[in-house]
C-alpha cells in the first residue's frame, strides 16, 4: 500500500464486512510525542479469543476466494517497519478495535494520504453504515459524523453523487485546515 489511508480503507472494510452499524476511525498525530496513532473501532460481530489469537497470521481468514487474509498482517508490517506496532482487541458479539501506531518522523513511515477518498469510498460502499471520523494534529481537531450529515439530509441518500462530492471537499478542507494533509 502506498498510503496509510489505503490501510484504513482496507481495515474499515473488515468492519463493514463484520456487520458493523457504526465504524469509528481516529487519526491522532502528536509532534511532542512523535507519535501517529490510527484507530478503527466497530460494533460488528467481533472475533472469538481463539480466532483473535491467530488473526495477525496471514493464513487466518474467513474468506472463501483465497486461503490467506492480508489486510491485518500488511497493516502490522507497515506499523512495525516505522517504529510502531499494531494491537487488536475484539469480543464476539461486541465489536473490534484495531490500533496502529507509528513514529511520526520515521523515514519508512508511509504518508497518511487521501483520507477523504477513503471515507467517501467507505460511505459509497456501505451507505447504511455510520462513520465517525476524528482527526487531531496536536491541539487542533476535525470531526465528521455521518449521523449528523444524515440529520441534515432528512432522508436524501447519503451516497448520491452531489452529497459524495460535497463530503469529499468538506473532509479534504477540514483535514487541510489542521495541516493533517502534511502528516
Amino acid at each position: 500500500m502506498k498510503e496509510l489511508s489505503l490501510h484504513i480503507l482496507d481495515i474499515a472494510k473488515n468492519s463493514t464486512a463484520a456487520g458493523a452499524s457504526l465504524v469509528e476511525i481516529t487519526v491522532e498525530a502528536s509532534h511532542p510525542d512523535n507519535c501517529l496513532t490510527i484507530t478503527i473501532r466497530d460494533d460488528g460481530k467481533g472475533m472469538s479469543s481463539e480466532f483473535l489469537a491467530r488473526v495477525k497470521d496471514p493464513f487466518t481468514t474467513s474468506r472463501t476466494t483465497r486461503k490467506v487474509g492480508m489486510g491485518i498482517p500488511l497493516f502490522e508490517l507497515s506499523a512495525m517497519s516505522s517504529g510502531g506496532g499494531l494491537d487488536i482487541t475484539s469480543a464476539s458479539g461486541e465489536g473490534t478495535t484495531v490500533t496502529a501506531y507509528f513514529a511520526l518522523d520515521h523515514i519508512d513511515r508511509q504518508p497518511l494520504g487521501d483520507v477523504a477518498s477513503t471515507l467517501t469510498v467507505l460511505i459509497q460502499g456501505s451507505p447504511a453504515v455510520d462513520f465517525l471520523y476524528r482527526h487531531t494534529v496536536d491541539n487542533a481537531a476535525f470531526e465528521l459524523d455521518t449521523r449528523q450529515v444524515r440529520q441534515i439530509l432528512q432522508g436524501v441518500a447519503i451516497d448520491g453523487p452531489d452529497v459524495i462530492k460535497w463530503l469529499y471537499d468538506y473532509i479534504t478542507e477540514g483535514i487541510n485546515n489542521l495541516g493533517g494533509n502534511l502528516i
Binding site: M1, L6, L9, R63, M70, G71, I152, Q154, D162, Y170
Partner: protein, 123 residues
Amino acid sequence: MKSLAELEAIRNKTLGSINLRNDREEGTRIVVGMATCGIAAGARPVLSALVDEVAKRDLKDIIVSQTGCIGMCRLEPIIEVYVPGKEKVTYVRMSPEKAVRVISEHIVNNRPVKEFTVSEADK
C-alpha cells in the same frame, strides 16, 4: 469554505427534483473488487473515477458498487459489468483512465472494450 449550508442546499435541490431513477434491480451494475489485493493495486481511484464519470454524464440507471475479493489477485484492480440480458464482462488491471473508457465505450455506446477484458489478459 465548505459549509453545512451547502449540504442543506444539495438536500433541497435533490428533494425538489423528480426522481427519474429506474428500479434499482433492473439497471446496469458496475462492481469493483475492493479487498486488500484490489485496494493495494489501485482500486480506490478506479472506484472514484467510475463514480465521478457516472455523475458527470448524469447516467441515471447505472449502479456502481463494491465487492470483496473477485479471486484473481494478480489481475487487480478488477471490475465487472452486468448489463441486464447480457453476459457479465470482467475487466482487469484497471486504471482510472481505463475505467472512464469502459463507461464511454461499454456503458454509453454498448461496445465492450475487448482489450481490457480478462479473456484478453490470459492470452
